[in-house]
Symmetry: C2
Subunit: 161 residues, 2 copies
């Protein structure tokens, strides 16, 4: 979960292989990113990076994280909020997310059968799948105990299941 020397090196090599130059800033951003557990926003990442080198700009963090997404090192996520979250594609297996709409807590899960069924759906439609995104939204156990209202507003006559 921390940036092991091996992992750091292989990312750097992969970047170089693609003609991306390796700078001190990128090293710090990468290390900070890999050392961050779970999901992190650019803003949060920038804050943490500045604790190490206060001169690194937000633009550089944006440019670096985008580069990491390009080379497959980071995943970009978009939960409800307006800003994107990123997480390492290297230190974890593929997984999906359970998001608590009350406290914002995010749990990860993986379900082989669902994955298989998704592949089947895609195959049936002739799609060559590259990735997917599945997020389940609800109220977590803790928040239910705290008495948070579980459901949003009711709805007009619908065709929903």
């Amino acid at each position: 979960m921390d940036g092991s020397p091996d992992l750091l090196r292989s990312v750097r090599e992969e970047a170089r292989r693609r003609g991306v130059r390796w700078t001190a800033q990128r090293q710090i951003v990468l290390e900070t990113f890999l050392a961050s557990h779970d999901h992190i926003s650019v803003d949060e990442l920038h804050h943490r990076v500045r604790e190490i080198d206060h001169s690194v700009s937000a633009a550089t963090v944006y440019r670096t994280i985008n580069m990491l997404v390009d080379i497959g090192v980071a995943h970009k996520r978009n939960f409800g909020s307006s800003s994107a979250s990123f997480e390492s594609a290297l230190t974890k297996q593929h997984h999906d997310h359970l998001v608590c709409t009350a406290c914002g807590q995010i749990e990860e899960f993986h379900h082989d059968l669902i994955e298989t069924l998704q592949d089947e759906v895609a195959k049936d439609r002739g799609f060559s799948l590259s990735h997917h995104r599945m997020e389940l939204y609800g109220v977590c156990a803790a928040c239910q105990l705290k008495g948070v209202i579980p459901r949003p507003a009711p709805v007009v006559e619908t065709a929903e299941s």
Copy 2:
């Protein structure tokens, strides 16, 4: 799929019931929205609304579509792009999406077993689920024939499945 008088009326009534006032602008936005098939952006919706009444502002379209989401008439979606898409919650059953990353085409699908399994996952974790989002990204059959490169860039050593 077009705004049938009944549907329009029941939405208006639901809005009024909540103390929302019904204006000419909201009527136009609602009619235009319901008459739009599939997924529409605020920008596109605004364009279409202005074909009927050129004086309706973007702010009003934003305010109205947000109101429609609040009362459960519209769903807000966030596919890859920076702007949100909306679709009617009334004229269609719940469904998920297959998105072609080459041409942008969006197909809908529904899979009962996947839904059931999602509910199970949530139950196992103690979540009270309110909604979910599942999008499968890949290249559609047509684009594969046209010879679009199916996959993005390769990746450094990963822990992916």
